[in-house]
Symmetry: C2
Subunit: 506 residues, 2 copies
């Protein structure tokens, strides 16, 4: 016999599932647009996406949902719910409140503004003309500040934006986590530059048959434990992972005919995201918890595979033979040690998405400091080009000659996404903490990687992180896996341990 509480919970779950079904349709529509939908159909497709997105938004903000949430949040009811339903209620309520606290017409203005801004940003970037983009960015900053006022905040307005992408994260914590990392990274990069050593990258810049590169990518995904009966690999300009449903987790990569590292590391990176999604407990299917814990935890999984595993010596001691089988001519004169060095070049550069694993976090810190300053009003948009140049010079020792290679390089701000950037660096920090925990649990993990036994790694990640989905907060996961709080010292240690010998530093 069902109780009124069972009924309310069932209605709530059915409503959430309906939302997930719309999300599945939309995810597929976007995936299709990026993987080969015919160009002339894009305009009509955008209209269809618009309709379905609006329907989904109606479900997310509907009166029915509000009633279910109110009913199930009522303590005497809430306490009788099973733990998955409890967490689902909290998660959906959080989204619901976020959506509801902003007046609908202001949100609509934000959507229009950012859609215009993305188009203006493209022009501004192409002509390296920050002035063009400036008025839009000013409005976007102002509307973000306004939204934070609706949502509320405790210590720092920016906390509320951080929380969107990294639940529970605050400026106070990020400042602390980043500061040591910045200092040590700057020192390490300076030492590497001073060493004057340049690994030979010419072998990677030869001609590489795309079909064979595809074979290599498929082999690497297979070895990582990616489940091809619940996913597929396609090619796109910008690689990504997308979850259509729990058993349909797709990755894409990019094959360059004259540079073979791009596909390898894009594939491993997106494969890392995919293993996360493929590892979430089936118990969470049909709930809002069948998702990554946060952007940062998600990024930790992609970066862990890309850098900690995929750019390790042991990884190539096993996998280099496949490279040689596929490209015997191109690497005839290259030892596995040379190959390892060639996929681990550290060099200060202007563009974030092309940065190596060491300098990458410095690019993020610049953006984080700027975002924080814009939101708390201590920085003004018109100062950005100059601030950008001076911070690049200070942290990386290089500075852009134009704004296209500087403050205009990323689309995130045009899209209104403030609070997102820090999660990239947090992902690297978490990844190093997880690596340290892995070492303790599986002391011979390097030997396993050397033997190609990557399943050991995957299974450990499944057990320690993946299966929990969104039932834990990022900090809870870190604490549960490592017994410690979020701390960048492990990433610093990892950098030193890896790159000092690689660059023969003292």
């Amino acid at each position: 016999m069902s109780t009124p509480i069972d009924d309310a919970a069932a209605l709530f779950r059915a409503h959430v599932q309906k939302m997930l079904h719309y999300q599945e349709a939309l995810a597929l529509m976007y995936w299709d647009l990026r993987t080969g939908a015919p160009k002339r159909g894009v305009e009509l497709r955008a209209e269809a996406i618009g309709t379905l997105s609006a329907e989904l938004f109606k479900l997310e903000t509907s009166r029915e949902l509000e009633q279910y949430l109110n009913q199930l949040s009522e303590p005497s009811t809430y306490n009788q719910l099973d733990p998955i339903t409890q967490k689902s209620v909290l998660e959906v309520k959080k989204q619901y409140d976020r959506n509801h606290k902003i007046p609908a017409e202001r949100y609509q203005e934000f959507v229009v503004l950012t859609s215009q801004a993305e188009s203006v940003w493209e022009d501004a970037k192409n002509s390296s003309n920050f002035e063009l983009f400036k008025p839009y960015l000013e409005k976007i900053v102002a509307i973000n500040q306004e939204f934070v006022d609706y949502w509320g905040y405790k210590e720092h307005k920016y906390d509320t934006l951080l929380d969107k992408y990294e639940p529970g994260m605050t400026v106070q914590q990020v400042d602390k986590i980043f500061s040591g990392l910045r200092e040590e990274t700057v020192k390490l990069v300076e030492a590497i530059v001073r060493s004057g050593q340049k690994p030979n990258v010419k072998p990677f810049l030869r001609a590489f048959d795309v079909a064979k590169q595809r074979q290599l990518s498929l082999a690497l995904l297979e070895r990582m434990g990616y489940d091809f009966s619940a996913g597929r690999l396609d090619e796109t300009v910008h690689p990504f992972e997308t979850t259509i449903n729990r058993y349909d987790v797709r990755v894409t990569t990019k094959f360059l005919p004259d540079e073979m590292r791009s596909a390898i590391f894009s594939t491993i990176h997106e494969g890392g995201h995919a293993l996360y999604e493929q590892g979430i407990s089936p118990d969470l299917i049909g709930t809002p918890l069948a998702d990554g814990a946060s952007m940062g935890i998600h990024e930790s999984q992609s970066r862990f595979w890309e850098n900690m595993i995929g750019r390790s010596r042991e990884f190539w001691e096993y996998n280099y033979k496949t490279v040689l089988d596929l490209f015997p001519m191109q690497f005839a004169d290259v030892s596995v040690e040379d190959f390892y060095r060639g996929v681990n070049v550290v060099e200060p550069s202007l563009i974030r998405i092309e940065a190596d694993e060491v300098t990458y976090n410095l690019h993020i810190m610049i953006r984080y400091e700027i975002e924080k300053g814009l939101i708390d009003g201590s920085l003004s948009v018109s100062d950005l080009p100059e601030i950008w140049r001076s911070k690049m010079q200070e942290y990386l020792g290089v500075a852009p000659e134009n704004d296209a290679d500087g403050v205009l390089q990323d689309v995130h701000w045009a899209g209104g996404d403030f609070g997102y950037f820090p999660t990239y660096a947090l992902g690297n920090i978490y990844a190093a903490q997880f690596l340290n925990a892995l070492k303790k649990d599986i002391p011979d993990y390097k030997e396993q990687v050397r033997r190609g036994n990557l399943r050991v790694i995957k299974n450990w990640l499944n057990q320690s992180i993946h299966r929990y989905g969104k039932t834990l907060m990022p900090a809870e996961i870190v604490r549960q896996v490592t017994g410690e709080n979020i701390d960048s010292k492990y990433l610093i240690g990892y950098f030193r341990e890896k790159f000092k010998p690689l660059y023969h530093l003292l």
Copy 2:
């Protein structure tokens, strides 16, 4: 300034567009399932499809839509509408009435029944056990009869089912159209069998690289005028064409490694469907009229390209060189005349979907006669296996030894689709009538085909048929293009003209 009529028409159009957007999402979800969606995700995908289909059905049967239709159908209003809106109102009203006249719970029972029946049919076919399927088919016939009672009919219950797929078509007309064709086809097939001639098909049964077959399919689509910037070619077990939107019209084909005719004619067939959809007037976008006029007219386009053009001597006089370029070894000893004969083998056989263009219509007539008899009660389901065998023997001179190769071969009845089969033969009949009209308009059309100038054909079809979409009834299109009523004498004439010389008959 907008009038109340403008407002009502705008609301109606917006409602229809919303329906079309759901249809786009669903079409993509089905296309994806058939072209490479990961197997393990299918079950969750089916749930998402279920949700979106239910939402679409709500829109199709909503109170709002009823109000718009009532308002716009009111004569004084209707007469002030533009012609496209008028026809849209009629089209949507027809669907609306069809949906509304059946009690919702009976329709739901039908959906469940046919979904069970499809699964049972599969088992029954695999074990060649008609008794297993019989009780389901009996229920499906009964529910179809009941639905016709709800919908109403004038002369023959089956007319109402025909009208679903071929608007305006009746038993009286089909009986007349089919009877002469049956008689003449049986005679021609007998003469071909008696002639004892067998074209040499061995060259087609060699090994054919799939990548090269794909190249050939792409080249043929390109030459037909298929717009690849508004479509794409993929591979599936059962080839099909699907319209995602007006500028996204996709085709699939099937590559067999040891039989190269399959891909060629699947590609041309589906390409013919696609040219129709790509040729519909852009003025009809966003209306229910951006669709084929009927199943029969749609099939006329695929069969016209597949048989009248794709299996013509002139077509291969131009395109055979591409085959030779791709497969020089396989066809080293084959003249274009031998090739032409090899793609035009006529031979009575048991399975409809493998039948040649001459015997094909006899397969359809058997199904039509059975459907008609079941619906008017003059035949009973338990008699079908025997009726099937005797009609096969009478029309084709061959009879199946088991029901898997007989009455159980097609899925249509399990799916509840009565009235659909005749449209396949009507398509062939229309195609021959269109060919006759083309001859009058472009007397040297064969010479154009021989020169590879297929665009002339495509443009004629665009102008004569495609652009009208669903603004005309099938019989109106035939009359407008040919100046005559639907008549199978042109198909009979086409068969005689083509196959008498091919088989050296008197």
